[in-house]
C-alpha cells in the first residue's frame, strides 16, 4: 500500500466517523425535540393504532433522508479529490482507484447504492407530497414502496457488485 492509498483510506475513515457523528446529532435532537420514534411505553401504545395512521414511519424517513444525504456528500467530497489525480498522473489514479475493487470498498459501495436509491426515491416522494395534495395515508403507501424499491434495488445491485469477489 502506497502513501496515496493510505491517505485515501484515512480520509474515508474520517468521513465515516463524521457520518456516525451526524447520526448522533440527529438522534440526540430527535430525543430532545421531535419526541422521537423510539420504543418508550407511550410510543409502544401508539403501535396499537391503524398502521396507516402512524406518522412514525415518515419521521424515520426524514432522519434517514438527512443521514443518507450527508453520507453521500461526504463520499462525493472524497470522490472529487480522488478523481482529481486522473488529471495529473494516470498511474497515481490507477493505484488509488484499485482500492475501489477490494472487498471492504465493494461493501461500502453497496451501502452507497442504498443511500443513493433511498435518497432519490424518497426525494421523489417529497416532490409528489409538495405538488399534489395526496394526504398522509397515500403518502405512507408511497413511502412503503420507497423502502421496498430501495431495499430490492440494493439487494439486486449488491449481487452484481459483490459477485466478482465472491465467485
Amino acid at each position: 500500500m502506497n502513501s496515496i492509498q493510505s491517505i485515501f483510506l484515512l480520509l474515508l475513515t474520517l468521513s465515516l466517523t463524521g457520518i456516525l457523528y451526524f447520526v448522533f446529532i440527529v438522534w440526540k435532537s430527535a430525543l430532545a425535540r421531535d419526541g422521537g420514534a423510539f420504543p418508550s411505553a407511550s410510543r409502544l401504545s401508539r403501535l396499537g393504532r391503524m398502521p396507516s395512521e402512524r406518522s412514525e414511519i415518515s419521521r424515520w424517513a426524514a432522519y434517514l433522508h438527512r443521514i443518507t444525504g450527508v453520507g453521500i456528500f461526504a463520499f462525493l467530497s472524497l470522490h472529487i479529490v480522488d478523481v482529481a489525480f486522473f488529471a495529473f498522473s494516470l498511474n497515481a489514479y490507477d493505484s488509488l482507484h484499485s482500492i475501489y475493487s477490494t472487498l471492504p470498498m465493494r461493501i461500502f459501495e453497496c451501502g452507497l447504492l442504498f443511500a443513493l436509491l433511498f435518497h432519490a426515491t424518497n426525494g421523489f416522494r417529497l416532490i409528489i407530497v409538495d405538488l399534489f395534495d395526496i394526504g398522509v395515508i397515500r403518502s405512507n403507501v408511497i413511502l412503503k414502496s420507497v423502502f421496498f424499491l430501495s431495499i430490492v434495488g440494493t439487494i439486486a445491485g449488491s449481487y452484481v457488485i459483490l459477485q466478482p469477489v465472491i465467485s
Partner: protein
C-alpha cells in the same frame, strides 16, 4: 441577518434549488453509479475506462452537470440541516461560510479535473 444570508440563503430559493437539482440528480447520479458499478465492474473502471469515457462529449457534459447539480443540492440541503441543528446565529453563519467555501473549492477542483483531463485526452 447578515448580507451573506440575505443573498445566499433565501428560503424559497433553497427550496426550489433542492427539488430541481434533486430531480436531475436522481437521473444523473444513479446513471453514473450504474455505468461505473453495474454495467461495468468497478475493477475495470481504471484510467483507460475514464479516458474512453471522457473522449465522448456526452459523458463530459454528464459529469460536469452532475458535479454542479450535486454541489448545489448538497449546499441547499446542508443549509436546511444547519438551520435545524445550529441555533446560535454567529455559529450558524460561520458554519455556512465554511460549507460554502468547501463546496466552492470542491467545484473548482472538479471542474479543473475535467478541463485538464479533456485537454490532455484531446492533445494526445
Amino acid at each position: 441577518m447578515s448580507g451573506f444570508s440575505r443573498v445566499f440563503i433565501s428560503r424559497s430559493l433553497t427550496y426550489v434549488a433542492l427539488r430541481i437539482s434533486g430531480a436531475l440528480l436522481a437521473f444523473l447520479a444513479l446513471g453514473h453509479f450504474f455505468v461505473t458499478h453495474i454495467s461495468t465492474d468497478v475493477a475495470d473502471t481504471g484510467s483507460s475506462f475514464v479516458t474512453k469515457r471522457w473522449s465522448s462529449s456526452l459523458w463530459v457534459t454528464w459529469d460536469t452537470v452532475l458535479l454542479a447539480s450535486a454541489l448545489v443540492h448538497a449546499f441547499a440541503g446542508l443549509v436546511v440541516i444547519v438551520y435545524d441543528y445550529i441555533t446560535r446565529e454567529t455559529t450558524k453563519h460561520r458554519v455556512l461560510i465554511l460549507l460554502a467555501s468547501l463546496i466552492f473549492i470542491l467545484f473548482v477542483i472538479g471542474l479543473l479535473t475535467i478541463i485538464i483531463s479533456v485537454f490532455k485526452i484531446y492533445s494526445t
